[in-house]
C-alpha cells in the first residue's frame, strides 16, 4: 500500500507580528539573528550593542565599548563570541557571556560598515567605507589584519562569508567574489552602488541589492542573472536584502516602510508587508524557521508565520 506522497507545504511567510521590542538604544542600525536563531542582536546608534531573547523579547545583555554608533554585528557559530563594527573605525570581538571586549581592532581608515565571522570564527572580515576588507585573525594576538582586500574602488557596503568564499558588495557598483580555494576573484558589474549582498542558502547563487531599487539574483559560478526583483524603493539608504529560510522567496527592505517578498523563481511580488511609516533599515531572516526581524527607527519587530498564540504554543513544544 502506497502512502500518498506528502504534498509539498506551501511556504509560510512571516507576516504576523509577534512582538515589538523597543530597544532604547537610539536608532537601530542593524538587527541580526544569532547563529541558531534564538537570540537577536541589535546595533544601536547610541554606541551600544544589545542581545535579546526572541521568544520573550527581553534584554539579556548590553555590550558597550564602541566609540560611535554600531553598524553591524555577527555572532560566531557557537554563540560564544560576537564581532561588531562601528563608525569609530574599529572592529570589536566580544565575549558573549561576560560582555567584555576580547579584542579591539583598529586599522580601517573610515567607518566600518559590515563585519562577518568565517564559518569557524577564526577570521573576522570587516568592510569599511575606506574601500578595504580586512581579514582579522581571532586566534592570534596580532593586531594587524591577515590580509587586506583593497580591490574595491569605493566603500564596502556589505560582505558575506561562506565556506571558502567571500562575497563583497561595494559602492563602486561591483560585487566581488573571492574564491580562496581557486585563488580567483570574480568581479560582477552591476553598475549601481551595491547596498547588500548575500549568498543563497544552497550556496549556488548570490543576491545583491543596489541603489537602482533592484535586487538581482546571480548565478555564482557564471555571473548570469537568474532573477531581477523590483518594486521597492531603495535609493539612498543602505538597506538589507535576504532570502527566506528555504530559498523560496527574496526579501528586501524598502524606504516606503514595507518589506517586499518576491517569489524567487517567478520574480513576482508575493507580499508587501507593512512594517511602519519610516524606512525599514535592516532585516534578518531566521536560519531555519519562517521568522523575520525588521528594524525601523528605534524598535525591532519580530514576525512569524503564525499569529502570536499559536507561535507561543509551538515554541513551547
Amino acid at each position: 500500500m502506497a502512502f500518498p506522497q506528502p504534498r509539498p507545504q506551501v511556504p509560510q511567510l512571516p507576516q504576523h507580528l509577534l512582538r515589538t521590542i523597543e530597544c532604547q538604544q537610539g536608532a537601530v542600525r542593524a538587527v541580526r539573528f544569532n547563529a541558531d536563531g534564538n537570540y537577536v542582536l541589535t546595533c544601536g546608534s547610541d554606541k551600544s550593542l544589545k542581545l535579546w531573547s526572541v521568544s520573550r523579547g527581553t534584554l539579556l545583555k548590553t555590550y558597550t565599548g564602541h566609540g560611535y554608533e554600531v553598524l553591524d554585528v555577527d555572532s560566531s557559530y557557537d554563540n560564544s563570541q560576537l564581532c561588531s563594527c562601528s563608525s569609530d573605525k574599529t572592529v570589536i570581538l566580544w565575549d558573549v557571556a561576560s560582555g567584555q571586549v576580547t579584542r579591539k581592532l583598529r586599522g580601517h581608515a573610515g567607518k566600518v560598515n559590515c563585519v562577518q565571522f568565517n564559518e569557524e570564527a577564526t577570521v573576522m572580515l570587516s568592510g569599511s567605507i575606506d574601500g578595504t576588507v580586512r581579514c582579522w585573525d581571532t586566534r592570534s594576538r596580532r593586531y594587524e589584519p591577515i590580509q587586506i582586500l583593497d580591490e574595491a574602488r569605493d566603500g564596502i557596503s556589505s560582505l558575506k562569508v561562506s565556506e571558502h568564499e567571500l562575497l563583497i558588495g561595494s559602492v563602486d557598483g561591483r560585487v566581488r567574489l573571492y574564491d580562496l580555494r581557486m585563488g580567483q576573484l570574480h568581479v560582477d558589474f552591476i553598475g549601481s552602488p551595491i547596498t547588500c549582498v548575500c549568498f543563497s542558502r544552497d550556496g549556488q547563487c548570490t543576491l545583491s541589492s543596489s541603489l537602482d531599487s533592484t535586487v538581482r539574483l546571480l548565478d555564482k559560478s557564471s555571473g548570469e542573472m537568474l532573477g531581477e526583483y523590483s518594486g521597492h524603493v531603495n535609493k539612498g539608504y543602505k538597506l538589507d536584502c535576504c532570502l527566506s529560510d528555504k530559498d523560496t522567496h527574496v526579501l528586501s527592505c524598502s524606504e516606503d516602510g514595507h518589506v517586499y517578498f518576491w517569489d524567487l523563481v517567478e520574480g513576482s511580488l508575493t507580499l508587501k508587508l507593512p512594517v511602519g511609516k519610516a524606512v525599514v533599515q535592516s532585516l534578518s531572516f531566521h536560519p531555519t524557521e519562517p521568522r523575520l526581524l525588521t528594524a525601523m527607527e528605534g524598535h525591532v519587530q519580530v514576525w512569524g508565520a503564525e499569529p502570536e498564540d499559536t507561535a507561543k504554543l509551538s515554541s513551547v513544544c
Binding site: 557598483g173 580555494r181 558589474f189 548570469e224
Partner: protein
C-alpha cells in the same frame, strides 16, 4: 532669683566634661592597661611616644614636618601663571602649634584692646560719649558703669611703679641719653654690639624692677607684676628695653644652664636698644660735628667767617677755595599754555606698496602719513654708481678691472682657461641639481631688485647663467666696477634671493622631497589585470545580459594564513604574491599622462578579452564609478541610461544650462565631452615627438624639454607585459606632467 529657686542646679557653673552617669547594674569596667592607653592631640590624632623616659612624642607625621611629604616650603610655588610672592616671615611662622597654646612660648590669648582699656581716655571719645549720653534713653553718664568695671590693662606692679615715677622705657629719674652717658664714663671705642662689662653699672635706665622689688634676692621674686592673663608673657621684657644682654641664649622659654653663675635674669629679654644702629656714629669729644655742618653752622652759611669756623677742620690734602664758586643761575622751564595736554598721538605710517591706491589716497587726504618713498636708504645701501649719479660725478675713465690692465695675450689665455673650466662644470651639474631647475622658472615673475634696475639686470643675468649651469654665474654677473665690498654684499643678496624668492609653484614643490628609492620615481605599481571596458558592461547591464559580459575573473592570491584559517589549501603554493599580482609600469609614460586623472583604474585591454585592434587605441573612458566617493546620501537617479553620443550630447546640453540636480549625469557629460574632444593617439605622439625638435621660445624650459624628449619618443606599449625600462636620466620635472592634461 526665681529661676534658681526652681532649679538650683542651674546656678552652678559646669567646667570640663562630665563623667558618664553610672548605671546601677553596670559591671565595673576593667581599667585600661597602660599599654593600651592612647594619647591624642587636640585634633584627635594619636600621638606617638618615643623614648621611655622623656615622654616625647613625634610631631605630625612621624617626625616629618607637618605633612606626609615632609617639609615643603610654603613659599615654593612652581607654575608659570602663579609666581611665588614674597612673604615676610614672622616668628610665628616657625612655631609649632603647641607654642601657641596656653603653656607654649607665645600663647595666643585674649588681650584687652585699646577700646576697652580704662587707663587713658581719648578726649574725643569722652566728648562723643558725653554728647551721646545726652541723647541716650537712660540719662546719666554711661561711662560711669565703665569706670566701675574697667578691665585692668596692666598689672598692679606696673601701676605701682608708675605711681612712683617710673616710666616706660625710661625708668626713674631724668631721661638720659645713652651716648652722653657713655661719653661721660668711658672713652673706649666699641663698634657694633657694645656689651658693657658686667661689673659696671647695671642699668642705664635706673631702677631694675626686679631688683627694686625683689630687693636683690632674685630667687624669691614675687609675681606681682604680672596679671593673671599676662603671666606667661614677659611684660617687662618688652617695655624696659634698656636691659642689657647677658650673652648666650636668654629668654623665658630657656632655663639657666648649669655653667652659668647667675640665674637672675632669665625673664629678661634682649632688645634692640642694646645695639648701635648707626655705623661709626660716635660723637667727637669737642662737640663739633664733621664736615657736614649741622644746623647751627648752616645758619651762618653766608657768613664770611665760616672759614674760621672750619679752620681746624680742613681735611688733609685739601685747601679752602680762594674764590667763591659762582652760583648757577637756574632758568625756569617755559610756561606751558593752559590747554596743553602732554599726550602725543602717532599717525599711522603706511607703506604705499602694500596698500591699494584708493586707501592710499584716502590716507593722504586724511593727513595720515603715507610713506611715499622707501625708507631713506643708508649710504651703504646705495651702490657706488648710484651715489655717483646722485652726486653728479662723471664715471671714472680708467680701467675698471684688472683684466684691462693685462696684455691681450694674457687675456686670451685666461679666457681660454675659463671657457674650458666652464665646459667641464656645465654638463653634469645642470642636469642633476634640482635647485637649479627650480631656479630656472623663477625670474620671470619675480623681480626682487626692481627699484634698482641695474642691479635687477645683473640679477637676471645671474639667474640666467645659473640656469645654464654656469659655475661662475655669480662672479661673472656682478659689476666689475664695484668695489670688493659691494660685490661681496651683492653676491650674498643674489644667492639669498635666488634661494628665497621663487614663484609659488616652485616654492611649493620645494616642500616635497624626492622619494628614497630610485625605482619609485620612474614606475608605479599597477595591478596586472585590468577590468574590461566599463562601457560594454554598462551596456550589458542595460540589456540585462549579465554573465560573461559583466564578469571579470582575475588571479587572486590569498594570504597563506587566511587559507589556513579557512581550512582551504593554498591555491598558489610557492607563490609569494598576495592579492592581485602587481606589475610595475612606467610612471611618466605618455600613457599614464593621458589617464592621469585616474591612472590605475583605466580599463585596458586585458589579456583575456579579445577586442578589435581599433578599439584598443580608443582612449580609455573614465567611468563615474571610478571616482572614489561615497554616494550613499545621493538620492537622485543613479544610473543614466547610455545612449549614443549624439543623442546624449543633445540631452546633456539641455541639462547643462539647467540646474545641477543630477551630479552623476553632469559627470558623465564631462566625460563624454572629453571623449569627444580628445584627438586620436597619433596626434599626441606627434605633439610630443616634435617637441624635441622645436626650440621653445622660452629659454627656461629648453633644458627640461630636451630631457623629456627621449622618454616620450619611446614606443608606447599598451599591452601590459613588456615593461618600459627606466629611461636613462629621466628626471621629468613636475611642471611638464601637469602640462599634459592642459593640452587635452
Amino acid at each position: 532669683n526665681m529661676a534658681s529657686d526652681e532649679d538650683s542646679d542651674e546656678d552652678f557653673v559646669t567646667y570640663g566634661t562630665p563623667l558618664e552617669p553610672l548605671e546601677e547594674d553596670e559591671p565595673i569596667r576593667k581599667p585600661v592597661p597602660v599599654h593600651e592607653q592612647t594619647v591624642k592631640d587636640e585634633k584627635g590624632r594619636y600621638k606617638r611616644f618615643h623614648g621611655a623616659f622623656t615622654g616625647g612624642f613625634s610631631a605630625g607625621y612621624f617626625n616629618t614636618v607637618g605633612s606626609q611629604e615632609g617639609w615643603t616650603p610654603s613659599t615654593f610655588v612652581s607654575s608659570r601663571q602663579q609666581k611665588a610672592e614674597r612673604q615676610n616671615a614672622r616668628p610665628e611662622d616657625f612655631m609649632d602649634e603647641e607654642d601657641f597654646s596656653e603653656h607654649g612660648i607665645a600663647p595666643r590669648e585674649i588681650v584687652t584692646t585699646e577700646d576697652f582699656a580704662s587707663e587713658r581716655k581719648d578726649q574725643l571719645k569722652d566728648k562723643a560719649r558725653a554728647v551721646s549720653s545726652l541723647a541716650a534713653l537712660i540719662p546719666g553718664d554711661p561711662g560711669l558703669l565703665e569706670e566701675l568695671i574697667a578691665p585692668a590693662r596692666s598689672s598692679i606692679g606696673v601701676e605701682l611703679l608708675r605711681k612712683m615715677g617710673w616710666k616706660d622705657g625710661q625708668g626713674v629719674g631724668p631721661r638720659l641719653k645713652r651716648r652722653q652717658r657713655k661719653q661721660n664714663t668711658d672713652a673706649v671705642k666699641v663698634h657694633g654690639c657694645a656689651l658693657l662689662p658686667s661689673g659696671s653699672e647695671e642699668s642705664e635706665v635706673g631702677l631694675n624692677p626686679l631688683q627694686a622689688l625683689g630687693g636683690g634676692s632674685e630667687s624669691a621674686h614675687i609675681n606681682l607684676f604680672t596679671l593673671q592673663s599676662d603671666r606667661t608673657s614677659s611684660l617687662f621684657g618688652d617695655r624696659n628695653s634698656g636691659q642689657k644682654r647677658r650673652g648666650g641664649i636668654a629668654g623665658q622659654a630657656f632655663g639657666v644652664g648649669a655653667m652659668e653663675n647667675e640665674d637672675a635674669d632669665i625673664y629678661h629679654k634682649d632688645s634692640m636698644s642694646n645695639y648701635d644702629t648707626v655705623l661709626g656714629g660716635e660723637e667727637p669729644g669737642d662737640g663739633l660735628y664733621g664736615w657736614t655742618a649741622p644746623q647751627q653752622y648752616i645758619r651762618k652759611k653766608n657768613d664770611s667767617k665760616r672759614d674760621v669756623v672750619y679752620l681746624g677742620r680742613i681735611l688733609d690734602g685739601f685747601t679752602l677755595a680762594s674764590q667763591v664758586t659762582e652760583i648757577k643761575t637756574v632758568y625756569p622751564p617755559p610756561d606751558l599754555p593752559r590747554d596743553y595736554r602732554p599726550v602725543h598721538y602717532f599717525r599711522p605710517v603706511v607703506d604705499s606698496s602694500t596698500v591699494s591706491p584708493i586707501v592710499a589716497q584716502a590716507l593722504l587726504t586724511s593727513r595720515g602719513h603715507l610713506s611715499q618713498e622707501a625708507p631713506q636708504q643708508g649710504r651703504h645701501s646705495l651702490g657706488s654708481s648710484q651715489r655717483r649719479d646722485m652726486l653728479g660725478e662723471t664715471p671714472l675713465q680708467g680701467p675698471s678691472s684688472v683684466f684691462e690692465l693685462l696684455g691681450s695675450k694674457d687675456r686670451e689665455r685666461l679666457n681660454e682657461i675659463r671657457s674650458v673650466a666652464k665646459e667641464q662644470n656645465k654638463s653634469p651639474d645642470s642636469l642633476t641639481s634640482p635647485a637649479k631647475t627650480q631656479a630656472s622658472s623663477e625670474t620671470k615673475t619675480f623681480k626682487p631688485f626692481q627699484k634698482n634696475p641695474q642691479k635687477q639686470a645683473r640679477y637676471d643675468l645671474y639667474i640666467n647663467k645659473l640656469k645654464k649651469g654656469d659655475k661662475e654665474a655669480l662672479e661673472s654677473s656682478l659689476d666689475s666696477s664695484m668695489t670688493e665690498w659691494e660685490r661681496g654684499r651683492e653676491r650674498d643678496e643674489f644667492v639669498r634671493a635666488a634661494v628665497l624668492y621663487k614663484p609659488s609653484n616652485s616654492s611649493l614643490s620645494s616642500r616635497f622631497t624626492r622619494s628614497k628609492h630610485e625605482d619609485d620615481t620612474d614606475s608605479v605599481e599597477v595591478t596586472r589585470d585590468q577590468e574590461n571596458d566599463v562601457d560594454d558592461k554598462q551596456a550589458a547591464v542595460k540589456m540585462k545580459m549579465f554573465g560573461k559580459l559583466t564578469r571579470d575573473t582575475f588571479e587572486w592570491h590569498p594570504e597563506k594564513l587566511l587559507c589556513k584559517r579557512f581550512n582551504v589549501p593554498d591555491p598558489y603554493p610557492g607563490s609569494s604574491t598576495v592579492g592581485m599580482p602587481k606589475i610595475k609600469r612606467d610612471k611618466y609614460s605618455v600613457f599614464n599622462f593621458l589617464t592621469i586623472t585616474d591612472s590605475s583604474h583605466v580599463s585596458r585591454e586585458g589579456p583575456s578579452a579579445s577586442k578589435p585592434p581599433g578599439s584598443s587605441t580608443t582612449l580609455p573612458h573614465l567611468t563615474p564609478e571610478v571616482n572614489k566617493k561615497s554616494r550613499w546620501d545621493k538620492t537622485g537617479k543613479v544610473s543614466e541610461p547610455k545612449d549614443p553620443l549624439s543623442a546624449f550630447l543633445s540631452e546633456t546640453l539641455a541639462q547643462s544650462d539647467g540646474k545641477q540636480t543630477e551630479p552623476k549625469t553632469d559627470e558623465e557629460e564631462k566625460e563624454e565631452d572629453e571623449e569627444e574632444v580628445r584627438p586620436p593617439m597619433d596626434l599626441f605622439k606627434a605633439i610630443f615627438a616634435s617637441s624635441s625638435d622645436e626650440k621653445s621660445s622660452s629659454s627656461s624650459e629648453e633644458d627640461s624639454e630636451e630631457e623629456m624628449a627621449p622618454s616620450t619618443s619611446e614606443p608606447i606599449q599598451i599591452s601590459a607585459e613588456p615593461l618600459n625600462p627606466p629611461v636613462s636620466a629621466q628626471i621629468t620635472p613636475a611642471p611638464d606632467i601637469s602640462k599634459v592634461p592642459g593640452i587635452i
